[in-house]
Amino acid sequence: MCRSNNSTTLAGAYSFDVTSREDARKDTDMIELTVNGIKRQVDVVAEMPLLWVLRDELGITSPKYGCGVAQCGACTVQIDGMAVRSCQAHIGEIAGKSVVTLEGLEKRDQHPVLQAWIEHQVPQCGYCQTGQIMQAISLLDLISQPTDEDINEVMSGNLCRCGTYPRIRAAIHAAAAKKMAEK
């Protein structure tokens, strides 16, 4: 269901053939990672997507569950500085790495992308917007003055059902201009 494209790998990763229920419960591992600058430990199966570790184990809710199969981008976070779909990152593979969610952005209140999002009043329902913002930050790190084509290219993996795309474009251009002016 989650990640149907590689369900074989997932199924194989579980010890489905164990006979005792108690043994199955010992499938979990103590995994350590850094989230928003704080060292955290979680006791879960290694295959659990980072998204669910953040949301249900650590109570960090800005990464949203939308599709579970990297089709919507609502769960986007940074792992070691790179924008990643947290529904696709197995917790076992990111042990020891540094995860930053929108809550953990430095100087969040003055962040040019977040400011542009507020000034342009981008959100409607807002559910996809934390993912949109994390992706836009990544875009502007890669390309400081993106064209509309650049925006289309990098932002097309982030779905917005309300249709805020015109404002997303405007906010990205505004944030780029603001960053340029600050240099």
């Binding site: 269901m1 989650c2 579980y14 489905f16 229920r21 199955a24 419960r25 499938d27 979990t28 879960v44 199966v45 659990m48 997507p49 998204l51 669910w52 949301r55 249900d56 184990e57 109570g59 809710t61 800005s62 949203k64 569950y65 939308g66 599709c67 579970g68 199969v69 089709q71 919507c72 609502a74 969610t101 929108l102 809550e103 977040l114 999002w117 507020i118 009043q121 959100p123 409607q124 329902c125 807002g126 559910y127 996809c128 917007q129 913002i133 925006i151 289309n152 290219e153 932002m155 097309s156 779905l159 917005c160 059902r161 309300c162 249709g163 805020t164 795309y165 015109p166 404002r167 474009r169």
Partner: protein
């Protein structure tokens, strides 16, 4: 119903100035605000030294709370509704808290009166207004508390401003009594009553005094020319929290001691589970329990992902669907539904249709629209806790009282035993008018008494259980003679979205589904012979309201067919529509979009423009779409849209809603359908049902007009003209007429 049939269109009092500024609702708003003291649901929870003047304002010595009457599904209710009260109360953003309304008949939706009364919106004859007044009375008596039908502003524009005015004047009266200064010498500003000597008394300090006097019920809202905030660009109250990731949607809530649930339900919607094998699931990590529920199984686990994985591993045998298992058979049923025994209603008849069809050149065309999913990005979810006293439920929903009914019915409680807490929604588009998550959550929580249960539908489950938009076929005929449209005979067979929803809400109706008339009968062109007829197909998939409901399919059928007739008559699509439009301020909407797009006829060079005009939910909307033919397919370059809502109360949000509606309409018309195979929909995630992504999104130029005599909603009306305007543009650019959605079955898009 049926008053329209024998009336000539000339009998309508179209665009009459007799009803100015929404007098009907104005009178209602004042009366309602005045009459609710006994029924005010805020009274019960009032603390000491606190006061409430009506169901929308509560003041304690600590804080001011304003009630957002409707559900916030992204359309901005949680901002614009309290801002309408704040405007009248002279409150600034930051000086009040906002709370969603609890279930109560006091919050019945007056805005449905126009949509439910059997008259087209532009008809403002005394007979039409009388029918609307009767419908309003029915709404009041039934206490229908529902968000939908683009009714949030029509419902609240008058009554919330009256509610704010009553609060302001009563606070002034309390300050006058305390200070001995005459009310006439007092003014209000920024949450304070100001005395002539400059002394400021905070509203919160007046709450105890205000509770001891009678509310000033004859307070009048201010003229819009005096507005400080409304009508000007405002910052939505929820913007900062949404951008900072701090706003908690229903899915983000956590309650101490809570466990997580996921479900696997019969994809043959509404049918039961026959048998299941959960042995594998029970042994999976994090799993606490596997429960059998009416139409499936639920897994209880320590986290949502464990629950979803285990639910997926349960092997279920399902009872077969009650509707045809295969999609082809759904179409066959529709094809054979154009028969008297399936007649919904002949909604409107003008002139002599049979004679008209024999005059000049006959044009016939069949159109199709598939089932489509809602799929807001936040999947269905909810938290439920059942104790011996009843059930508490935290869920985002558009019909609070029906949530009580559905949850109570599922577990044999009384509706008043269900305590409902509405939540911010990550979109809806009609999805959160249905109840699958509510019913299932009640069953699960009832089996887990004493433990709060958080249910989250996986995206796949959400798709499988999504009750779709109606499926429909239209068979339209018309004739043209000597450069004029002589006749139009519009017929459609469809599943019934509104009837289905009402039935699942415990309010079954025997009336023909009025949403099948939307976009079909409310045609405002001067066509001397006209007929609009609906047939209601039986035995197909349950269907429900999807952003713009009936008009989302009929608008496409009607405005594509009108375009075909216009071309057959050798006319220009824009000029002909303007010339034929019989409602003066609707004509202005078309003229505006013509001016915005600088419409001058065919573009040539592989480019094309299409226009469409649809009035839905009382809001006349005209769109022009421009496309180019490229090597890789059709590119949508630009959209111009003009909408008349009577009053643009929140201009930024207005533009956002309009652009969003266009994108919704275009995206689904291009590439979305749900198809059944073996009784289940085949599309289970966004890669199968994508709608529009940013790379396909055109530039959208928006203009709001304020000529309509009533305040109208805008959440849905931009949707219906989008598909026909695009199809008409593709015809203009390529000569190819697309008569079925989704369009990408017939032509490629860039």
């Amino acid at each position: 119903m049926g008053h329209m049939q024998n009336l000539s269109r000339r009998a309508f009092v179209f665009g009459s100035a007799a009803i100015a500024g929404g007098i009907a609702f104005g009178a209602f708003g004042t009366a309602e605000a005045a009459a609710t003291a006994g029924d005010n649901p805020l009274t019960a929870g009032l603390g000491p030294n606190s006061v409430t003047f009506n169901p929308w304002v509560e003041i304690s010595p600590e804080k001011i709370t304003l009630i957002a009457q409707h559900a916030d599904i992204g359309q901005g209710v949680g901002s614009v509704q309290p801002m309408m009260i704040a405007e009248e109360m002279d409150l600034d953003p930051g000086q009040f808290e906002v709370r969603f309304a609890s279930p109560s008949p006091a919050y019945f939706n007056t805005g449905f009166a126009d949509e439910f009364a059997p008259f087209v919106a532009a008809d403002q004859s005394p007979a039409a207004e009388e029918a609307r007044a009767k419908t309003l009375e029915w709404l009041r008596q039934s206490g229908l508390q529902m968000t939908g039908g683009s009714s949030t502003l029509p419902d609240t524009y008058e009554k919330l401003r009256v509610a704010g005015a009553v609060a302001r004047e009563t606070l002034k009266a309390a300050a006058a009594k305390r200070s001995g200064v005459a009310v006439a010498d007092l003014r209000t500003q920024s949450g304070h009553v100001i005395l002539p000597n400059g002394t400021k008394v905070a509203y919160v300090d007046l709450s105890a005094d205000a509770a001891k006097i009678s509310p000033v019920l004859d307070a009048k809202p201010r003229d819009p020319s005096k507005w400080r905030m409304l009508g000007k660009p405002m910052t939505r109250l929820d913007i900062r929290d949404k951008v900072m990731g701090e706003l908690k949607f229903g899915i983000d809530l956590k309650i101490d001691g809570m466990l997580y649930a996921a479900v696997k339900l019969n994809p043959g919607k509404g049918q039961p589970l026959k048998s299941y094998d959960a042995s594998k699931a029970r042994a999976m990590p994090g799993v606490k329990k596997v429960l059998e529920i009416k139409n499936g199984i639920a897994v209880i686990a320590t986290n949502s992902w464990y629950a979803m994985k285990a639910a997926d591993a349960v092997i279920c045998e399902w009872a077969p669907s009650a509707y045809p298992a295969e999609q082809a058979d759904h179409w066959k049923v529709l094809e054979s539904s154009f028969k008297p025994e399936f007649l919904g209603k002949e909604w409107r008849k003008i002139g002599d249709i049979e004679a008209g069809l024999k005059t000049g050149k006959l044009v016939e065309a069949e159109y199709r629209a598939p089932y489509v999913a809602h799929q807001p990005l936040e999947p269905l979810n909810g938290i439920g806790l059942v104790t011996d006293k009843g059930m508490e439920i935290w869920v985002s929903h558009q019909s609070p009282r029906f949530v009580q009914y559905v949850a109570a019915t599922a577990i044999s409680l009384k509706p008043e035993q269900i305590t409902f807490h509405n939540q911010w929604a990550g979109g809806s588009f009609g999805h959160r008018l249905e109840y699958e998550n509510v019913r299932v959550l009640a069953e699960i929580a009832n089996q887990m008494k004493g433990t709060p249960i958080k249910l989250v539908f996986s995206r796949e489950e959400d798709f499988l259980q999504d009750i779709p938009r109606q499926i429909a076929i239209a068979r339209h005929r018309g004739s043209v003679d000597q450069g004029k449209i002589v006749s139009a005979d519009l017929q459609l067979a469809s599943t019934t979205p509104l009837k289905g929803l009402l039935e699942r809400s415990g309010r079954p109706s025997k009336d023909p589904d009025g949403q099948l008339a939307a976009g079909l009968w409310n045609v405002y062109y001067d066509i001397p012979n006209f007929r609009a007829t609906s047939y209601e197909a039986q035995g197909l998939s349950p269907s429900t309201t999807w952003r713009s409901v009936g008009a989302s399919t009929s608008g496409f059928f009607t405005e594509s067919f009108i375009d075909e007739l216009i071309h057959a008559a050798g006319l220009d699509p824009m000029k002909a529509r303007i010339a034929m439009c019989i409602v003066p301020h609707y004509r202005k909407v078309l003229e505006t979009v013509a001016e915005m797009s600088d419409w001058k006829g065919p573009l040539g060079n592989g480019r094309g423009r299409g226009v469409a005009f649809v009035e839905s939910f009382g809001t006349p909307t005209a769109e022009v779409v421009e496309v180019s033919v490229t090597e890789r397919g059709i590119r949508i370059d630009k959209v111009w849209i003009a909408v008349d809502v009577g009053k643009v109360v929140d201009p930024v949000n207005f533009e956002n809603q309009v652009q969003g509606g266009v994108i919704w309409g275009l995206g689904h018309a291009i590439n979305c359908e749900l198809t059944y195979a073996k009784g289940a929909v085949q599309q289970t995630n966004y890669n199968h049902h994508e709608a529009m992504r940013i790379y396909q999104c055109p530039v959208i130029e928006v203009r709001g007009l304020e000529n309509d005599p009533k305040v109208r909603g805008v959440g849905e009306p931009p949707v219906p003209p989008a598909a026909p305007a695009l199809a008409n543009a593709i015809f203009a650019a390529t000569g190819k007429r697309i008569r079925e959605m989704p369009f990408n079955k017939f032509i490629d898009f860039v």
